[in-house]
Amino acid sequence: MNFPLTFWDMSLWLVVTAIILLATSELLSPYYGRTGIALDKRKLRMIALVMGILFMGTVVVRIIGIITGS
């Protein structure tokens, strides 16, 4: 009974989520049409950036791993 995702799987998930969130925060607006779900665009964008930074963190870990040869 182990968690089936590896560190690199999580890295992939982070980047995909960050891209989706960034695109959503750009397209989303309660002004256009009648929306059922209201979200704060700024907070969404901030979360997208945090996800992006986390992904970059995993990239840095990868780079350090390559440099140190592990």
Binding site: F3, P4, T17, P30, Y31, I37, A38, L44
Partner: protein, 303 residues
């Protein structure tokens, strides 16, 4: 001789006791109906409220279930699905917008101000064009004043007037006119907060850059705003303004005061330039949902 119940009168209120009983019944019925009305309102509110919370809880529950199953069966696909669902569920629960109101409220809540102004001006028989005066004192920096002269074609030095004007002064004798609170002052102050700078410290170029983004992205009051300087005039094109319904039945005088958005832009311009400003022309184009507003700067002494 015994008094029949229907012939008995109350000593205090004078009602026939039979009538009072029916009145009491009416009061009881009314209270019951009011309670029912409240219950129905509550049900309606629950039925029409935004489903963000419900969707958030549902997605989170599904996500957690998928994650648990993925751990049990060591399925990476289920883990991805679970992570995604949990993430979006939590997002919907915690990233809900705090202030979300229907745009019709904007027009409905600002309308009484304009009706009151129109009645006041009709009563006073003042015919001058509304002119936005720049703030001259520290305590009037966050206040917006519109001066409306009594006569239409009177020669007035608005710049000197703005310097002589006392805070909270309502009527002015020379030149004869009235000072009104601008309808867009609240919005103008909010725009300043959004931009993070006082308009008095900004130039026209700064306004051209900062104001559209604050209106479009900050408050989503319009789909597009373009500011162009043409000599002494500043032409502002507003696309799909939330206040466009205001101009459908507004008179010429109210148009020149402008909806709260047009008024806020006028205040921004008058604060930035330090000069009196008036709305020269408003051309609403309902077909393209565009509105062209022409402000004229009444140059006095340069700052």
């Amino acid at each position: 001789m015994p008094v029949r119940p229907q012939d008995a009168y109350c000593e205090n209120c004078g009602f026939r006791l039979g009538e009072r009983t029916s009145l009491e019944n009416l009061v009881t019925n009314t209270k019951t109906l009011e309670e029912e009305n409240q219950d129905l309102r509550e049900k309606l509110r629950k039925a029409t409220r935004r489903p963000s919370r419900l969707a958030g809880l549902g997605l989170s529950a599904l996500g957690f279930t998928a994650l648990t199953i993925s751990i049990l069966f060591e399925s990476s696909i289920l883990a991805f699905i679970g992570l995604g669902l949990t993430f979006w569920g939590v997002l919907l629960l915690f990233v809900r917008t705090t202030h979300y109101v229907k745009s019709q409220l904007l027009d409905a809540t600002s309308r009484p101000y304009y009706v009151a102004v129109e009645r006041l001006l009709d009563h006073l028989e003042y015919e001058g064009h509304p002119v936005y005066l720049p703030p001259r004192q520290l305590k009037t920096l966050k206040v917006g004043t519109i001066f409306i002269a009594a006569e239409k074609n009177e020669e007035i030095d608005y710049y000197k007037l703005s310097e002589d004007l006392q805070a909270e002064q309502l009527f002015i004798q020379i030149p004869s006119g009235v000072c009104l609170f601008a309808p867009g002052v609240g919005l103008a102050n909010l725009l300043e907060e959004e931009i993070g700078k006082d308009f008095t410290k900004e130039s026209l170029d700064d306004l051209q850059r900062d104001l559209p983004s604050a209106i479009i992205e900050g408050f989503e009051l319009a789909e597009g705003v373009e500011i162009e300087v043409e000599g002494e005039a500043v032409v502002v094109k507003i696309m799909s303004s939330l206040y466009e319904a205001f101009y459908e039945d507004a008179g010429e005088r109210l148009k020149r005061i402008g909806c709260p958005l047009v008024s806020a832009i006028a205040l921004a311009l008058t604060r930035a330039t330090g000069q009196p400003i008036f709305v020269d022309e408003i051309k609403p184009e309902p077909e393209s949902r565009k509105m062209i507003v022409r402000y004229v700067v009444l140059r006095g002494v340069e700052r």
